[in-house]
């Protein structure tokens, strides 16, 4: 068999791409760790290990070489899911979510490149639907928390649900005012259903500085990593831009129309999964649209659905749902957004020349 041209290749490789994305997660990860403690590390490590082990097990069953593991895609799925889980959730949450993500959302379709849905988000949605209580029990940022868990206490809670002093997670969820703290988006949702105005909600302790001490920096960290990926050309700008426009444009319009009912663009941009989702999750190339226009539409859809569910739906945040819903639309989007092939767009002057 003769080799075929080209006989040269740029430096970009699959594993390099995956590891770059993993490195770009670092600032956001550090911010998460700084504000939410050791639980973040446990989640990420457990998810990553489970994903890689599950992938290895399936490769063994499918009699495929283990070298495939070296594309690091399973590792990345684990890291992304781990970052999305609430810190100090029980260990089996991480294990169930990760193994489901690899087994059912990825390998059952044939492995990397064949999965129609974003594996990390499929795992996340499974967990959110199956274990809603555990999945919504977020810690307050450490600066606002009454009690901060040490490494040992965190590990105990993670593994056994009780720390060395027999405290449960609820103990660490107390804010400085003695009440259990919710995430900013959670707070908005519940307060709104109770008839509060946005301005009244955002005056509470959980909302300080821009949005909230913890969440704003977490989002800023992921934004930083995302910009790194854009500069390095590891991701294309169309999807993040689409997501941010789809989420922030309606936020801007509705907030301008009725600031008392709808949180501002800033709150949306720097809360919840916005930046992680826009730059790292929606940009998963396998399950996203591939044409340029298609990516803009895909991103816009993800952003818009997120805003709709955050604003009118039953969940405080909705990135995972938005991504999965748009994943379903990808074949359609791709079909209708094919670029004009070279030579098929003729200018009128050219047609004249042809006719003459």
């Amino acid at each position: 068999m003769l080799n075929s041209s080209p006989f040269t290749k740029n430096k970009q490789s699959l594993s390099g791409l995956m590891t770059s994305v993993a490195w770009a997660l670092l600032p956001g990860f550090i911010a998460l760790f700084y504000f939410f403690g050791w639980g973040v590390v446990f989640n990420v490590v457990t998810c990553a290990v489970t994903c890689v082990l599950t992938e290895a097990a399936v490769l063994h069953l499918r009699k495929k070489p283990f070298i495939i593991l070296k594309d690091y895609s399973a590792l990345l799925t684990g890291v992304l899911l781990g970052l999305a889980l609430p810190p100090l959730a029980p260990w089996w949450i991480a294990v169930i979510g990760s193994s489901f993500a690899i087994l059912f959302a990825k390998q059952i379709y044939g492995g990397l490149g064949f999965n129609p849905f974003n594996p990390a988000m499929a795992g996340y949605v499974l967990l959110l639907i199956s274990f809603p209580v555990a999945m919504t029990a977020w810690l307050p940022p450490q600066a606002l928390a009454e009690n901060n868990a040490s490494f040992i206490d965190s590990l105990y809670i993670f593994l056994f649900s009780f720390d060395t002093h027999q405290h449960t997670l609820a103990y660490y969820r107390l804010g400085v005012d003695g009440f259990t703290m919710a995430t900013p988006l959670d707070q908005l949702k519940t307060s709104k259903t109770m008839g509060y105005l946005i301005s009244e909600v955002t005056n509470k302790a959980i909302f300080s500085d821009i949005v909230n001490v913890g969440w704003q920096w977490v989002n800023a960290g992921f934004l930083l990593g995302g910009i790194y990926l854009l500069v390095k050309k590891h991701i294309h700008y169309a999807i993040p831009v689409g997501v941010l426009v789809g989420l922030l444009f309606p936020a801007l319009i509705f907030n301008g129309y009725s600031p008392d009912e709808y949180p501002s663009l800033i709150v949306h941009a720097f809360s919840g999964a916005t930046m992680l989702g826009a730059f790292f999750i929606a940009t998963d190339p396998v399950s996203a649209a591939t044409t340029y226009k298609g990516r803009l539409i895909f991103g816009f859809g993800v952003g818009l659905i997120t805003w709709l569910i955050r604003t009118f739906g039953g969940y405080p945040d909705a990135f995972a749902f938005a991504v999965l819903l748009m994943n379903m639309a990808v074949p359609l989007i791709d079909h209708f957004t094919q670029p004009t092939v070279y030579g098929y767009k003729t200018s009128p002057s050219q047609n004249e020349e042809l006719n003459s």
């Binding site: 040269t8 591939t290 340029y292 791709d334």
Partner: protein
């Protein structure tokens, strides 16, 4: 980044009006490392005469040439040894003096890796050279005469496709475009030719423009060739002074692969895209390669048949990388030996982006060999799954969706592949170059294209068969009908005949009756009379 030296050297305001620095580029493209300076620093060298050469009969598009010499015959350099077989074919001449050793199939440099018919010549030291009569005053010679000369001299496109030049020059156009982009990494043969003989090249361009009646010549060159550009500007300037007209434009295009692709260069120089299945000539343009222009000119003015070309011999396995004048038919083995690059693990004819691997060093240099790339280590890829990252679509100069085409080609879904314009793929390799999963995409497309061709041929065959079958049925039916008609006619005729006969009988009968009656009456009357008597 490479435009810097040109911009610095030729301050835009100081450039002549006929030099244009093009900034608007085409969609996609890639910037592979150029590796041109390893071969373009030294003057063009010449290889020594090898002991034997192998001249393939098929070095161009169209039918292989027909050999007109027999085994054992003595030939001299430049002598016609094989004649064009048909309109699209091209003459082939002996590169050296020697004896025809054999005419048989042997290994040739071809992407298919198949053998082909070649004339094997054992060279000798005689110094005789055949030349066609010189046509120095080409401006006052019939155009047909000039085109005929180019036909005789065996000129085929030296850029890579090997299209017979006399056919391209048999048209009348407005603008002659000269492709001096040379966008493939490593290759520098046109660059060196321009650097060393800029005046002859400009003269050649004017000559070819005269043949096709072009009003304008545009030379497209990438901005990574500052020396060639400088020399060209000087040469064009003096030609313009001499001819008193600004016939030639020099367009400096940004360095980006594949700017030397016909469609891409056309877009760069005319700001228009070439519509599908339209040739530039239909729009009044003709695109020629630098070396082809030169060869055509020399065939006319010096009567030189095409027996040698400049070849870039380069790569990390070549200790003396530079450009060489190499006679057609020189075996790669001799090139390797004379350049001391025997340790090459991989030989590539052409550049790394669109060239093909040559597995056997017995393969000879042909008219389309612009580069011999010798690599210490064969390029190898570890194919991984497609993650639909879309890098390929960003790089594709034809604005295709290579990742989709890949899926269709993989699953033999050729209808879908065609729907996504597979046939508009120019196989430049930019997609495979950027693919992080190292998928040999072009290989998949070639596979799909050849399958589609096969299917099209099979379909045409079956349609032909169907047509024949239908025609036969129709013929049989017609014959049957004709026969039936004939029978009917015959029956009718018989019937008529029978009827006619019947009528005559009736008449006869009637007459006979009448006669009989008359007789009877007569008889009766006689009898009565007798009675009365």
């Amino acid at each position: 980044m490479n435009s810097a030296p040109v911009q610095q050297r030729f301050n835009r305001s100081s450039l002549p009006t006929w030099v244009k620095v093009i900034t608007r580029s085409f969609h996609g493209g890639v910037h592979p490392e150029e590796f041109k300076t390893i071969s373009n620093q030294l003057p063009i060298d010449r290889l020594a005469q090898p002991e034997k050469i192998i001249v393939p009969l098929s070095q161009h598009l169209g039918n292989p040439a027909t050999p007109i010499v027999s085994v054992g015959a003595e030939v001299i350099a430049g002598q016609l040894i094989a004649e064009a077989a048909g309109h699209l074919s091209v003459n082939i001449h002996a590169p050296y003096c020697g004896t025809i050793e054999k005419i048989e199939t042997s290994f040739v440099a071809h992407p298919s890796g198949m053998d082909d018919l070649c004339i094997h010549i054992k060279t000798n030291d005689k110094e005789a050279v055949f030349r066609y009569p010189k046509i120095s005053d080409y401006k006052n010679t019939e155009i047909d005469e000039l085109v005929k000369r180019i036909n005789e001299a065996g000129i085929a496109g030296l850029g890579g496709a090997g299209f017979p030049t006399h056919i391209k020059l048999g048209t009348q156009i407005n603008t002659l475009i000269i492709n001096a982009a040379e966008c493939e990494p490593y290759i520098s043969c046109d660059d060196k030719l321009l650097q060393e003989e800029p005046n002859e090249f400009v003269e050649a361009a004017i000559c070819v423009a005269h043949i096709v009646n072009a009003e304008k010549i545009i030379i497209g060159i990438e901005d990574n060739k500052p020396e060639a550009i400088e020399k060209l500007i000087a040469a064009i300037e003096s030609a313009h002074k001499k001819n008193q007209s600004d016939l030639i434009e020099l367009h400096i295009v940004p360095t980006k692969y594949p700017s030397g692709g016909e469609k891409q260069l056309f877009e760069l120089l005319t700001q228009k895209q070439l519509p599908p299945s339209i040739r530039p000539a239909q729009l009044g343009y003709l695109i020629h390669n630098v070396a082809t222009i030169r060869a055509a000119y020399r065939a006319i003015v010096f009567g030189e048949p095409l027996t040698e070309r400049v070849v870039t011999v380069t790569g990390d396995a070549c200790p003396s990388p530079k450009n060489y004048w190499i006679k057609i038919g020189t075996r790669f083995a001799d090139v390797l030996a004379q350049t001391e690059s025997q340790h090459a693990q991989q030989m590539i004819m052409g550049g790394p982006m669109m060239g093909f691997e040559v597995k056997n060093s017995n393969a000879p240099v042909v008219k389309t060999t612009n580069c011999i790339l010798l690599q210490k280590k064969a390029h190898q890829v570890q194919e991984q799954p497609c993650i639909r990252c879309g890098e390929c679509a960003t790089a594709c100069p034809a604005s295709l969706l290579p990742q989709q085409l890949y899926w269709f080609a993989r699953s033999d879904n050729f209808e879908k592949a065609q729907e996504y314009h597979l046939s508009d793929c120019i196989e430049c390799g930019a997609c495979a170059y950027v693919c992080p999963s190292e998928i040999p995409l072009v290989q998949y497309y070639r596979y799909a294209k050849s399958k589609m061709k096969e299917q099209a041929i099979a379909k045409a065959k079956s349609e032909h068969a169907k047509e024949r079958h239908e025609f036969r049925e129709m013929r049989l039916a017609r014959e049957k009908q004709e026969r039936a008609e004939k029978h009917k006619q015959a029956a009718l005729a018989r019937k008529q005949a029978a009827e006619k006969k019947g009528i005559e009988d009736e008449k006869k009968a009637t007459v006979a009756d009448a006669v009989a009656r008359a007789k009877a009456r007569k008889q009766a009357l006689t009898n009565k009379n007798n009675e009365n008597d």
